[in-house]
């Protein structure tokens, strides 16, 4: 007996529809991922005179709806769970590193090579302001900008751990509701 009041097809339609209502671009992206289909091994009788009775070949076919759901959920997990976790991981690893002093390439390297030099005190184990450039260097003047305007950068903001835990639970709940394997 089914554990679901809905079919895999109805579930996929609902998922894509709800996504399209909020973000048509992402809905199209998820739809495209599902539409890529999957590779399977097909076999057919070999032609006469061959040693092997069957030959095997690769064929790309559409996903069955239950598998398409898993693919769609994986795509959503990349956007709503993996992406915040990547940023969190990056910020945590960078927080542990100290910041070098305002020593540019014009300054010679220290002769002592075994220990870090010119480190700003108090910067180790301290959250860093990390940003990704939005206006790339070929779009800018050649001047160095010590403190670029915020709109030219995308800051990577810290992610509260409880929010990650909550979103992981949301993902697990959705996965469970879309699991048709035992039916």
């Amino acid at each position: 007996m089914s554990n679901h009041e809905y079919t895999p097809q109805a579930a996929l339609e609902l998922l894509i529809r709800k996504l399209a209502e909020r973000d048509p671009t992402l809905a199209a992206q998820v739809r495209a991922v599902v539409d890529q289909g999957k590779d399977i091994q097909e076999s057919e009788s070999a032609s006469r005179g061959r040693k092997k009775k069957y030959r095997v070949y690769r064929k790309t076919v559409p996903y069955p709806y239950d598998e398409a759901l898993q693919v769609a959920v994986k795509a959503l997990a990349a956007c709503f769970v993996e992406q915040p976790m990547l940023i969190d991981s990056c910020l945590k690893n960078m927080a542990q590193a100290p910041v070098g002093s305002p020593r540019g390439f014009r300054y010679p390297r220290a002769p002592e090579k075994r220990t870090p030099v010119d480190v700003l005190p108090g910067t180790e184990m301290h959250e860093k302001d990390v940003r990704i450039e939005l206006r790339t260097e070929t779009q800018l003047s050649a001047e160095i900008e010590a403190s670029p305007p915020i709109h030219e950068m995308q800051p990577l903001s810290p992610i509260p751990p409880d929010q990650i835990a909550e979103q992981l639970r949301n993902l697990a709940r959705l996965k469970a509701l879309l699991d048709f394997r035992e039916e």
Binding site: E5, Y6, L14, L15, K18, L19, R22, D23, L26, Q29, V30, Q36, A75, A77, A78, F80, V81, E82, Q83, P84, M85, L86, I87, S89, C90, L91, K92, N93, A97, P98, G100, S101, G104, F105, R109, K113, R114, P116, T123, K128, D129, V130, R131, I132, E133, R135, E137, L140, A142, I144, E145, A146, P148, Q154, Q163, I164, Q167, N170, L174, L177
Partner: protein
């Protein structure tokens, strides 16, 4: 029995969460670069686990803020105070960069999403502006964040890039949160990049493999 209302509520909970659509729409234009930043962070972790201290630096001064390039660029660029990391192990100095272009053995330039290179060469190329030679490269990675399956062409391009980076390269890899069965096979022959597929914080064992490979390669190189 799971009802349609249960399903609707579960979808809403995922999309409407603070880390759901709002956060995604804010960051999606830089998601590829955010993945590079994540791999850069794992390199810092590998260095720390080797007992060294990675220090964050900027091309023209202290990296406050620490800026990741939005597009491939030159190591000597002075457009912005781009960030990189420096570390010393057993007397050898190295730098970790993201989005820097190198000169291949053929003379053609190639971008490496994340790399570890010899610091002396990096210094020289900043002082006398030039693209670093492939011989200065110790390790290099292609980084791809994909919501769906990877495209085969990405793997083929990276194999071609690595082929042009000479014989000093100790380690290369193709990192992605996604995977591709055929690409995994394609990367199997010796000398091809390691496939670091499904490498995300959701798969800590895959992160550990990546980090341990770096540690092994740097240890061997420095005798640490």
């Amino acid at each position: 029995m799971a009802t349609l209302t249960d399903l609707e509520n579960a979808i809403d909970a995922l999309l409407d969460h603070p880390l759901g659509l709002g956060q995604y729409q804010l960051v999606r234009r830089v998601e590829e670069k955010a993945y590079e930043a994540y791999v850069f962070g794992l390199c810092l972790r590998a260095v720390r686990e080797l007992g060294a201290t990675p220090v964050l630096r900027g091309i023209s001064g202290a990296p406050i803020p620490f800026v990741f390039r939005g597009a491939p660029g030159q190591i000597h660029s002075t457009s912005r105070n781009y960030g990189y990391a420096e570390f010393i192990l057993n007397g050898d100095e190295f730098e970790i960069h993201a989005g820097v272009e190198f000169k291949g053995s053929s003379g053609m330039t190639h971008e490496l999403d994340v790399c570890i290179m010899r610091a002396d060469d990096a210094d020289r190329c900043r002082q006398q502006p030039d693209d670093p030679p492939s011989a200065s490269l110790v390790a290099g990675w292609e980084c791809k964040f994909y919501a769906g399956n990877l495209e085969k062409g990405l793997g083929r391009s990276f194999v071609g890039l690595i082929d042009d980076m000479g014989t000093n390269l100790r380690l290369s890899g193709f990192c992605s949160n996604s995977s591709h069965v055929q690409l995994k096979d394609y990367f199997q022959p010796q000398g091809r990049p390691h496939p670091h597929f499904n490498m995300t914080p959701l798969e800590p064992s895959n992160e550990n493999i990546f980090v341990n490979q770096i540690k092994g390669a740097i240890k061997k190189l420095t005798g640490a």
